[in-house]
Every structure is written in structure tokens, then in C-alpha cells.
Amino acid sequence: MLEQFSFVTSVATVAGIYAILAIGLNVHWGEAGLLNFGHVAFFAVGAYTSALLTIASPSASQAYSFGFGMPIPVGIVGGCIAAGIIAFLMGIPTLKLREDYLAVVSIGLAEILRYGLMNENWLTGGVGGIYGIERPLTEAIPFAFYNLFYLGLVLVALVGCYLYTKKLRRSPFGRVLRSIRDDEEAAVALGKETFRYRMQAFIIGAVIAGLAGSLWAHYTTALTPTAFATNITFTTWVALIIGGSGNPKGAIAGAGLIISFREATRYLPDVYGLGEIMPTLRLIFVGVLVIVTIRYRPEGLLPERNITRAEYYNRLESESENL
């Protein structure tokens, strides 16, 4: 019983972190129409920054040479800021481009960053990564309840991001973003500086992803570059597409579904003897789900309010007309 409970706790924690990632991506794609395929970069920058700010100074045997031993909240804030700065730098060359160019460039920049994580041993520990990242309040919380406590922490962050982006959506800023998304020329005609709005949305989404990264670092306590491959970006996209983009609820629902599915099927192979091929079968299913969702329910499970399927297609149309 206790075992099942701790399994559910850990799945919920991972799902919560992915939900935060998906909320960040929803600000990019759902609100601002930015086709960001390099989301993992912000996740990684948040995680590594928070880790480096909080771990103790490394000993001579360790590959990396920094470690500032600062309190964990400083690390988390630092992770968010660093992700925002990276977004700013990535945004300068990319946010003036066509949407589909942005997809290609962002996936490439995320890959370059991953090569950096693998090769810059002095900073990131290279392929060996960084170990022994501290968890918050380990002394104060009894060990038996610790994972539950961390889940609570993740949920608080998730609710915070949800409320913030919901407010953002209803603000004048959010309305301008959606107007740019749906008809950029009209927004320009109204005198809106679309680049600036896009940049702000890009940074906000990245900061949220950086928060997810920091929470991830202090949850797993170890970081290696292999954990930051493109499949994180794709998983987040799948969550957003299936859950429904344009509203943070869809992002949360999608992340919950995808992660529970991924984790729940992890123990199936023992039962049906599918051991070796199970991981790939699972991904095939996820891919089919994306294709089917776009074809039959492009608005996702929880659609953006006041938008019909025809309008959604219109939106995709109007975006592709700009190509």
C-alpha cells in the first residue's frame, strides 16, 4: 500500500513539473502563437543554474569548477532569471522570423545548448553531470513524508503559474498577444509593436520553464545532459496539443494525462512480456495520438474558450498565410 502511494506521489510530482513546463509553452504557442521547439533549453538552463548556485564548492576531483552554496530559493530565482535571459538572447534573432523558421531555429539552438552541456566540463560537469544537489528543508521534514512535501511544493508552484497566466490572459497584454497571434497585420495597424510583445511573451514562458527546471533539479538531485534531449520538448508539445492550447487548464490536463500514461505503462512489460519493445511502443502510441488529435480534435481536450473548430483552423490558416 505504502509502495503504491509513493509511486503515485512521484508520478504526480513529475506530472506537476511537466504541467508547469506546458503552461510556459502555452504562453508561447497558445497565447502568442510562437512555434517554440526548443523549450527544453529553458528547462535545462533553469535546472543547471539552480544546481550551480546551490551546490557546495566542488572538490578537485569534480569536473566542474563552480558551486556557490547559496540558499535554495536563491537558486530557484536564479534559474528563472537565467532562463529569461537565454530567452531574450534567443529571441533577438528569431522572433522576427516566420513561425516555421522559429520552429527550426529554436530546436537547433536547444541542441547547441545540449552540446554545450555535454562538452563544457568546467561549467556543467560534462557528460558526468552534477550530483548531490540539495533538497529544500530536508532537516525539518521527516523522511517518510518528504516526497509528499515536495509534491506540495510543486503544486504550489503550479497553482501560482496557473493563476498568473490566467490573469495574464485576461489582461490587456494578453489580449494584444492573442490579436497578434490571430492577425498580426491588424495588430500592427493598431500601432502595436509586435516584436516587443512577442519578446515579452517569449521571456515569460521561458521563466516559467526555468522554474520547472529548478524544481526538477532539486527533486532529482542529479543532472546529466542526456536528461535534456529534444524528447522533453516533444513531450511538452504533445501534452499541450492533447490537453488543448490557448488556456492553462488544457496544459495541465495534457501534462497529467501524458505523464500518467508514460509512468503507468512502465510496469506493463513485466505483465505481458513486452519488456524490450515497450518504450518504443509507448512512443508510437503517443505519436499516433498527436496525429489523431490534430485531425479530429485540433482544439484538444479542453479547448480555448469561445473558439470553434472552424475558428481554430482559421487561425492556423491565417498564420500559414503569412508564410
Binding site: L35, P93, T94, L97, E99, D100, Y101, A103, V104, V105, I107, G108, L109, E111, I112, Y115, M118, N119, F234, W237, I241, E276, I277, T280, L281, L283, I284, V286, G287, V288, L289, V290, I291, I294, R295, P298, Y313, R315, L316, E317, S318, E319, S320, E321, L323
Partner: protein, 288 residues
Amino acid sequence: MISFDPQFLINGLTTGGTIALAAIGLTLIFGVLNFINFAHGEYLTIGAYAAFVANVSLGLPILLSAILAVPVTVVFALVIDRIVFYPLRRQGAGALALLITSVGVSIVVRNLIETIWSSDTRRYDLAAGEAMSILGIRITAVQIIILVTSLLLMVGVHLLLTRTTLGVSMRATASNQSLAMSSGINTEQVVRWTWVIGAGLTAVAGVLIGIDTVLRPTMGFGLLLVMFAAVILGGIGDPYGAMLGGFVIGFVQEVSVAFISASYKPAVAFMIMVALLVWKPEGLRGGT
């Protein structure tokens, strides 16, 4: 002081040749269907594995295997188009719906290949070729084959685009779809032929890369970014630009080893692309 090593030239040309072949396919499909196909790398992998089945499982000679890989990949691409992309086109879905769908296709196909052949690396059954020396440059028989094949196919593409009705229709559809339709071009037929040519060239690129290195289920996906770089460098939708872009990328990747760590080799193509996008978004050859 780094002196110019002609060896880079030959390595760059062979790498560039394969990238260029695959990039022509990607850019033609973009031109005619107007979406970036994220599953394009998987067509390359399918081509390579189709030849693997013919060559290793059935014991056929590599040349015959390579020739067989082309129709297999083409049929595969046409089937995918019919059951996945065509219904979306008919629904009137935009480029972004097609793009996201192609990401789904890429995930499905890549993992299907891994389910069948596992993630182990595979090799064709080939006699080990010896390197020969021409004017002090070491060149292997495989490199000569790659160069000759890719150059011949590029000439073929050029003749097709300029001397045949199909090629002219393709270029017309790429530059203005509705105008092409109103002048009586059957665009769905042009779309099908674009898949045939694009997938066919990409399959050959896959086999050539397999001959030069090894096969693995992620080989095409790993090259996708490099192909994107070549396509964008040449100006998206422009087949001649893709050829030029492929060679530039291949060449710069090889030369970069002299300046920065070889572990960044795959990132170099991309840095060039980003730099170019900032400086000249319409591609090296200018607006079309």
C-alpha cells in the same frame, strides 16, 4: 597557423553531397506543400533500412539493394501522405497543423524502426574498400561513389525541373499554387510526384550515408537539423539553393574541426544557419 588541408575538401564534398540530396527532397516538399516536414529524416532512415533488409537479410548486392530502397521509400512516403497529410489538406488545415502532424509521424516511424530492428547500429555487407591517393589526397572508393552518385542525381534534378512538363508544373506550384491550379495544373498530381522525387532522393542519401558510416534508427532524425540548415541556407523551397546549402554545410562542418572541438561539429551547421537568418533571411541565393 593553420594551413589549408585539401583533405577537408574531399571530406566536405562527400558529406555535403549526401546532405544536399536529402535537402533537395525536403525543400521540394516545402515548396509544393508549403509546410516544413519534420518526418523527412525518417524517410532517409527508411531508405537506409530498406537497403539493409535487401542487402543483409536477403543477401542481395548493395547496388541492387540501393535501387530497391528507392521504390520502398517512395511507396512509404505516398502511403503516409494519403492517410495522414492528404486528409488534413482536404480539411483545409494550415501549415502549422501539418507541421505538428509531421512531428507525430516522425515519432511513430522512428520508434517503429527501433521496435523492429532495435537501437543497435547496423552495417551493410560490404567489402572493405581501400583508400587510394590522388595528388596527395586520400580518397576511398566509397567517397568516389557518393560524390558521383550525388552529382549525377543533382544533374538529373536540374534536367527534370527545367526540361520536363512535370518539373515546370512543380516550380509553378511552388511559386504560386492558386495560379498554377487556374492554369490547369493538377496540383494533387504534382504533390504526388514531389513526394516520389523527394523521398527517392532522400532514400539514396540514406543508403549512401549507411555505406559511409553505420545505420541506426535515429540516423535520419539526427541529420534533420543539418538538412534544415542546408535548406534555409539555400532559401527555403529552392532546390538549387538546397544543393549549394548542402555543400556549404558539409564543407564548413569538416573545416570547423581545425578551429573548434570536433564534438561541436554538428552544432556548426546550425550556428551558420542562425547567423545567416539574422543577416540574410531570404537565403544565400537571394529572394525567389
